[in-house]
């Protein structure tokens, strides 16, 4: 399994180019339409064939982990919104839960259910952004706007609830800041009732399209053992056929009470990951509907002191973010300031799998593979 990485490195040295011509080195990014931000990949090409790839990241590094050590526990939330900026609700959830775990606080059931509803809506929104941009990378531009049409509905709910569309921040250590507004449940249900029709529409455009299948089937294959060795998580891991989801493996919030399936792929190619994410959107919709049905009344804030001072100790807490396992390693020294806030970003680790996946493919596939990993540079670079 260690030879996965070796393959990448040797790929840069064996000059098996056509007609022994010299290889062409091309910089994809940091400003390139398909790198989803400021990611740079240096491709070694033989014509259009990729011999090897090297990743360069860090263009969006803002020192999020360092900033965490310079404020109080609650000050960190808004900074985390800017991490994975297409799924900021999940970022906040992971951090709040990590600190709550350290504090030993149990949050009230209503807050748990609301958190689940909001994070699952966020997962749908994030997957919609992924589907739209991924399809656009492959050239199907209409789907992008269709996806954004549905995402808009989720963002409207967010705007009403959080007061913000992108950098949502109402999860507090111990619960939530706000209770729902009037009509929140109805709006969520509205969206959920409409959504299956929309997914069917996307699948109608893409799933049986021969060009789409030609562009994604058998592209960027990641076998299950390679996926585990490279440490990928989330839909990328599940697309490779490993049934692992933190929501099931280590249930947090009220996921244990909710009924949902974990879709897995068979071949571990781009098409499988596409199917997995589509199915995940359906499952998220199921979760939201169940959670709204079961949504209990009661307080939304647990018993937390005004000044948050967790006992000295450390905790690693992971949640299933839309992109994979989002882990927070919080070390407390018993003061009001976190001693260390390590973030284990899913995209960062998943992106490591890119070079082995693109080797031997064509330039156009690199774009498809970057898309299928679903990276957000704000999270990779932090």
């Amino acid at each position: 399994m260690a030879d996965v990485e070796e393959k990448v490195i040797t790929a840069l040295h064996d000059h098996d180019t056509f007609l022994d011509s010299s290889e062409l080195i091309i910089n994809m990014g940091p400003q390139h339409p398909a790198t989803h931000g400021v990611y740079r990949v240096r491709l070694h090409l033989d014509g259009e064939k990729v011999l090897g790839a090297e990743s360069y990241i860090g263009y969006l590094h803002r020192g999020v982990e360092k900033l965490g050590e310079h404020g109080d526990y609650r000050h960190y939330g808004p900074i985390l919104d800017r991490m994975d900026y297409v799924a900021s609700v999940s970022n906040n959830l992971g951090y709040c839960e990590a600190v709550e775990k350290l504090l030993g606080v149990q949050i009230p059931p209503r807050a748990q259910y609301l958190r689940v509803i909001l994070t699952e809506l966020q997962r749908i929104a994030s997957h919609l952004v992924w589907l739209g941009t991924h399809a656009m990378d492959i050239g199907a531009m209409t789907i992008f706007l269709y996806c954004f049409r549905e995402r808009e509905k989720i963002l409207n709910i967010f705007e009403k609830y959080f007061g913000a569309r992108l950098t949502t921040n109402s999860f507090r250590i111990g619960g939530l800041q706000f209770d729902t507004y009037d009509g929140f449940e109805a709006e969520c249900l509205d969206f959920c009732n409409d959504f299956p029709r929309r997914i069917a529409e996307y699948e109608q455009i893409l799933s049986d399209n021969r060009i789409w299948i030609g562009r994604t089937r058998g592209i960027g294959i990641l076998k299950a053992e390679d996926a585990i060795a490279l440490g990928v998580t989330g839909p990328v891991l599940r697309g490779s056929g490993v049934k692992f989801d933190i929501r099931k493996a280590f249930p947090y919030e009220c996921y244990a009470d909710l009924d949902f399936d974990i879709p897995i792929g068979e071949m571990g190619d781009t098409y499988d990951r596409y199917l997995v994410r589509n199915e995940e959107m359906r499952q998220s919709r199921r979760i939201v509907m169940q959670a709204i049905e079961k949504l209990p009344d009661g307080p939304i804030m647990g018993k937390v002191t005004k000044v948050i001072r967790p006992p000295a100790g450390e905790v690693y807490h992971a949640i299933e973010a839309p992109k994979g396992e989002l882990g927070f390693f919080v070390v407390s020294d018993g003061t009001t300031t976190p001693y260390r806030t390590r973030i284990r970003p899913p995209s960062f680790v998943n992106l490591q799998a890119l070079p082995p996946m693109v080797r031997g493919q064509l330039v156009a596939d690199v774009v498809a593979i970057i898309g299928t990993i679903d990276i957000v540079l704000g999270e990779i670079d932090r």
Binding site: I138, R215, V363
Partner: protein, 342 residues
């Protein structure tokens, strides 16, 4: 003197200006149609319903700085767009918009510039020159993305031209003439559009036409998510506009040829059916433009619907499917024609 110079000159000027307008509004059409397909409005700000948008774009592009990258082959870089644009516009001189003619100051004036007896050959010859502009533009940019884009473009255009040529040959077997006017008249005589007689040829031509104009799903030379902007990555300002105009002019051209060769040019549908003769009230030139508009719409529709092919898949479609099928079609047509000699 007047008949051979002045009137053609005026005709050329008028057709050129009208064509420019068409090209400009083809971009508007594309943006609007794609927008409606994508649940949005498209340009709405410049003029009513954004109708002045193409003019605003042209003015903007004209006043932009003309950037020549360091290390570029300056002269080739500057002339490459022109090489692409000139053939795209020149070809319209043999496109018959209608066969109706009037007399101006006693001289007969046709709705086409000229009728060459090698019309379709002239079209194919000139439209092949356009690819040089793309190759040279990509090559002279001294940049890797344009280079890849132009190489893709060259390979694509060369391979699809073959199948396209064969598709046209299958029409010529029926028309027995290379003149565009004669081809339309042959359809009139037969009473059927060639699209009905030559469905395979028509579809091959249609697909190749999309590939020839570098439009989706064959827009690999300028695949923006892969090659940034392909061969015109380094172009800005009016030189970019020229490439852009050439692309749309080519779109109109391919649509015009499709209308002429396969959809009976200016003819109304079913020209020989008496019951439908009332359709001939509508002038031929309107029929022609309706047909062109339909093909343009088809292109835009394709772009809004389909993902992009990969380079090797594109080549496979071209060489493994289209060319053998088109050759088979030519042979089949020839045999049938010989057998049912009329």
């Amino acid at each position: 003197m007047v008949e051979y110079f002045l009137i053609p000159a005026v005709q050329i000027l008028i057709i050129f200006l009208v064509l420019l307008l068409f090209v400009a509004y083809a971009t508007y059409l594309e943006r609007k149609v794609v927008a409606f397909m994508q649940v949005r409005l498209g340009p709405m700000r410049v003029g009513p319903y954004g109708l002045l948008q193409p003019i605003a774009d042209a003015v903007k592009l004209m006043f932009k700085e003309d950037i020549v990258p360091a290390g570029a082959d300056k002269w080739i870089f500057m002339f490459a767009p022109v090489i692409t644009m000139i053939p795209a516009f020149t070809v319209f001189s043999v496109i018959p918009f209608s066969d109706s003619h009037t007399t101006v100051f006693g001289y007969p004036v046709h709705l086409y510039i000229t009728d060459v007896n090698v019309g379709i050959l002239f079209v194919l010859a000139l439209s092949s020159i356009g690819v040089f502009g793309i190759i040279l533009g990509g090559w002279s940019s001294n940049s890797k993305y344009p280079l890849l884009g132009s190489l893709r473009s060259a390979a694509q255009m060369v391979s699809y031209e073959v199948a396209m040529g064969f598709a046209i040959v299958s029409v010529l077997i029926y028309s027995r003439s290379l003149s565009m006017i004669d081809i339309v008249n042959a359809q009139k005589d037969m009473g059927w559009w060639f699209a009905v007689i030559q469905p395979i040829g028509f579809f091959i031509y249609l697909i190749c036409g999309v590939a020839e104009t570098n439009r989706a799903p064959f827009d690999l030379p300028e695949a923006e998510s892969e090659l940034v902007a392909g061969f015109h990555t380094e172009y800005s300002g009016f030189r970019f506009a020229i490439y852009f105009m050439a692309e749309y002019a080519n779109m109109i051209l391919i649509s015009s040829i499709a209308a002429t060769l396969f959809w009976g040019g200016w003819l109304s549908p079913f020209p020989n059916v008496k019951a439908l003769s009332f359709l001939q009230v509508v002038p031929g030139v309107v029929w022609f433009f309706l047909k062109v508009f339909f093909f343009m719409y088809l292109y835009i529709w394709l772009r809004a619907t389909l993902p992009r092919f990969r380079y090797d898949q594109l080549m496979r479609v071209g060489w493994k499917y289209l060319i053998p099928i088109s050759i088979g079609n030519v042979i089949l047509t020839a045999v049938l024609r010989l057998y049912f000699r009329t």
